[in-house]
Symmetry: C2
Subunit: 173 residues, 2 copies
DNA sequence: TTAAACTTTCAATAATTATTGAAAATAAAT
DNA sequence: ATTTATTTTCAATAATTATTGAAAGTTTAA
């Protein structure tokens, strides 16, 4: 397969993966493009390669910078900005995991905390109330479990990265 | 807080969580409603409580059944169908994790396999080609890592479930 | 068989979300 | 200060995705 064709397919696949996980297709595609580009790209480079508008590129690179997986690169003597992706895939995964934990796990945990105490009432049977309370408690419990699991993964991933790094530093063990 | 209000808030929060993760809001809401309902609900019950159409309920309960987290319940002497959610939250998590692994990890792994061999060409420099190949290899590598992590989580979760079950069976250790 | 009670489908429509493009803002150079 | 290069914003528009509702399909019972 030709490089260009391979890149095209990767960008498409990454975009599809993104949309299955609630990330906009274009944002994932911009990320994919930067991942497989050797140097940093300008806004125009991205516009050309993905055939999207300037405003669209701007919004998406900024969102990617919010996630911490793309950074701006300034070149001396160049007025325009260039963008490059974090290339270490484990760091990328870690950053995404951290961010999603913050953005999506925290809000639901807050809601669960707020609704966990239900007062007895005339319209609801005690069984209904009890079942609800139990369900919320078990979800809350599970959210903690997920939170710890995410923390463990982030940790495991950092270790994995570290051990790879060590190997690189000392090629002949 | 009143039970009804608490349920309402839970359904809303669950819907929001779902859409952040690429699940349609209504599907997540139907799931939430079934989670906090004591018995099984009919199509009409769901229509009434969520204020959505019959067709919508039908499509979403069917999707939930595809995920394996909702099942149909038939009552003797009743012609219509009732639906109830899997109430064990660990089983729910396991089923979702398994399904997503199958639906989303597998396709991207396939694409990575297909594009990993790039032939040398006049239009691409060897550096570009090499960088691309390296990136794909590291993502492929990571996908395996993620796959193992998912398997481990599923396992951990089953163990957690098992140990809870054991405790229930023998309340006085 | 026919009717009644339900479920399923799907074309039309509504709602949501993403994208554009041009104007406004900003920053650097002259 | 003015021009030029660039980024940013955002109202308008396009594209996508979800929802409806009525017709067609299915199943059970009389």
């Amino acid at each position: 397969m030709q490089l260009d064709e391979a890149k095209r397919r990767f960008i498409e696949g990454w975009g599809t993966l993104g949309s299955a996980w609630g990330v906009s297709r274009t944002m994932a595609q911009v990320h994919a493009l930067l991942l497989v580009s050797l140097g940093a790209l300008s806004t125009e480079d991205i516009m050309d390669q993905l055939q999207i508008s300037r405003g669209n590129v701007n919004m998406n690179v900024r969102a990617l910078m919010d996630w911490g997986i793309v950074r701006k690169e300034l070149r001396p003597g160049e007025r325009r900005e260039f963008f490059s992706a974090e290339k270490d895939i484990h760091r990328v995964a870690t950053l995404i995991l951290k961010e999603r934990r913050r953005r999506e796990l925290e809000p639901i945990v807050r809601v669960l905390g707020e609704i966990r105490h239900v007062e007895p009432s005339a319209t609801a049977t005690p069984e209904e109330t009890e079942a609800f309370t139990q369900m919320i408690a078990s979800i809350q419990n599970f959210a903690e479990f997920a939170d710890r699991a995410a923390a463990t993964l982030i940790k495991a991933d950092e270790n994995w990265f570290l051990s790879t790094f060590m190997k690189l530093m000392r090629p002949n063990p």
